[in-house]
């Protein structure tokens, strides 16, 4: 699901109000960027946790683990033939 900036900006505004405990009406650019980063992180995390994405992530994970194992195997084989690097 995609969001437009017009939808995200009020969320950052609300987050900024809570961040300042409703005691400040403005924040620095730096802080605003951090809060926008937090909002984007939550959206990405939520999308990443959806059931169909989890299945896909598991598949990717299996493939990744399989590749890791074959790389480890190749490295060990190489180490045995050439001896450990000192």
């Amino acid at each position: 699901m995609e969001y437009t900036m017009e939808e995200l900006v009020p969320v950052v505004g609300k987050l900024a109000e809570k961040y300042t405990a409703y005691e400040s009406t403005s924040i620095t650019y730096e802080k605003a960027e951090q809060l926008m980063g937090a909002v984007l992180y939550c959206i990405v995390f939520r999308n990443w946790s959806k059931p169909d994405v989890i299945v896909w992530r598991r598949a990717i994970g299996c493939r990744h683990r399989g590749r890791m194992r074959s790389e480890q195997y190749a490295w060990r084989k190489n180490e045995k033939s050439t001896g450990p690097i000192s």
């Binding site: 900006v9 950052v12 403005s26 924040i27 620095t28 650019y29």
Partner: protein, 177 residues
């Protein structure tokens, strides 16, 4: 990602809220026209850009107006310019004080000094009172928190003010010399 979304955050319509302050300020002889309100909000945008800050919610303009409308040193002739200068000073010192102080504490401090120490002189407020106070806050002073920003400046004031004893002393000098 560019800074466009920060512009969006600042574009909330505050014009109506600024004009609504007339209901309270007219009893002090202070009225803002729509043109005045637009000018104040335009200058607010410039100050925010200059100080690299973003504002959200109701904003500070209305708070400044309500805090300062009963000042002895503001009348209809200098009203708009004073509000514009006050918001510039406000954002500058929010940054200088590293956001350690709340809006209300800073406004109370500014108003108190504006009336009692600066006698309406905005340059003195900016370059002396707030400069001394922000230096103290950056050094870790937090004594203003209990008093909401009131009565905090006397601890940092480097100038001897007119108190009763000083007044009598000077009067004696002038009369019995």
């Amino acid at each position: 990602m560019g800074k466009d979304w920060m512009v969006l955050l600042q574009q909330q319509n505050q014009l109506e809220k600024v004009i609504q302050t007339n209901r309270m300020t007219e009893r002090y002889g202070l009225i803002l026209t729509e043109e005045d309100a637009r000018l104040i909000l335009e200058e607010r945008g410039n100050s925010l850009r200059e100080q690299k800050r973003v504002e959200f919610g109701e904003g500070i303009v209305t708070k400044i107006i309500y805090e300062f409308c009963d000042s002895d040193y503001i009348d209809q002739t200098n009203y708009v310019n004073t509000i514009i200068r006050l918001q510039e000073i406000f954002y500058l010192y929010k940054n200088e004080m590293q956001d350690e102080i709340t809006d209300d504490e800073l406004l109370h401090f500014m108003k108190e000094q504006f009336e009692s120490i600066c006698f309406g002189d905005l340059d003195y407020l900016e370059s002396t009172c707030l400069a001394n106070f922000s230096q103290a806050i950056r050094a870790g002073y937090d004594g203003y928190k209990g008093s909401e920003g009131y009565g905090a400046y006397s601890k940092f004031d480097e100038v001897k003010r007119w108190d009763h004893e000083l007044y009598l002393e000077t009067l004696k000098e002038l009369c019995w010399r």
